[in-house]
Symmetry: C2
Subunit: 137 residues, 2 copies
């Protein structure tokens, strides 16, 4: 099980997308919905902002999306948070004197790449708008 940052990021972006009164959108308000600490929210928002997904201004309430929900794929959100993440860790320094140890890392990389590509395809196929539609349903 991986961390919950992806879930929190989607929650935050959904909240920003669905709240029309921007003056309500403070880190404190968002933290109340996510049920966490305002600083955790501001930290996450800083990451999403750096990735160009939203804007904010010091000292002023109100966050705004910079990408239309229908154009914002979950993959873009995922990448904003975790960067070019690797799915599974590979144990380092297996014994190079062993036939298996020598090639296992490269082999596993191939295996994990195919798994990751399948995942990526799914994340690419879903947008924030899809999430919003399901939230409304």
């Amino acid at each position: 099980m991986v961390n919950s940052r992806f879930s929190v990021a989607i929650h935050i972006l959904s909240l920003i997308a669905t709240t029309s009164d921007k003056s309500l959108l403070t880190s404190d308000f968002i933290a109340g919905s996510v049920n966490t600490n305002p600083v955790v929210v501001r930290r996450m928002i800083g990451v999403l902002k750096k990735a160009g997904l939203l804007s904010s201004h010091t000292g002023m309430a109100g966050y705004e999306l910079l990408v239309e929900p229908k154009d914002l794929t979950l993959l873009a959100i995922y990448q904003a948070i975790d960067g070019p993440e690797q799915l599974f860790a590979i144990h380092d320094e297996p014994n190079p004197a062993c036939a298996v140890g020598q090639k296992i890392q490269h082999t596993l990389e191939g295996v994990y790449t195919s798994v990751w590509l399948a995942m990526e395809e799914q994340l690419q196929a879903q947008t924030l708008q899809d999430v919003l539609d399901q939230l409304r349903a």
Copy 2:
């Protein structure tokens, strides 16, 4: 990034599958190839044994696969290790008084399920034999 247990498990199973002289197969020998502690190996083997993938006998060197490499999918290995794992964590107790908070968990579960199914398909499509072939190549 997830832990390296999946990688270690595949390494161990590959080693067992490719070592014909079973008397060499001690937890110490395997640990030397993986580059970890013998106890870590024995612990992992205990899990794989419990899942019915291999056999061992107290006090006696030599592990043996109970499933043919061509019939042993990576999914089976994955499930042996992590059980019915969830891919991404979902933050708990989002605010039920909020429209987003109220439905986000269920929505995210749907999203993550679709991602997991794609992953599962990939893991199901590859067997230990495929790994062995790549190790030999």
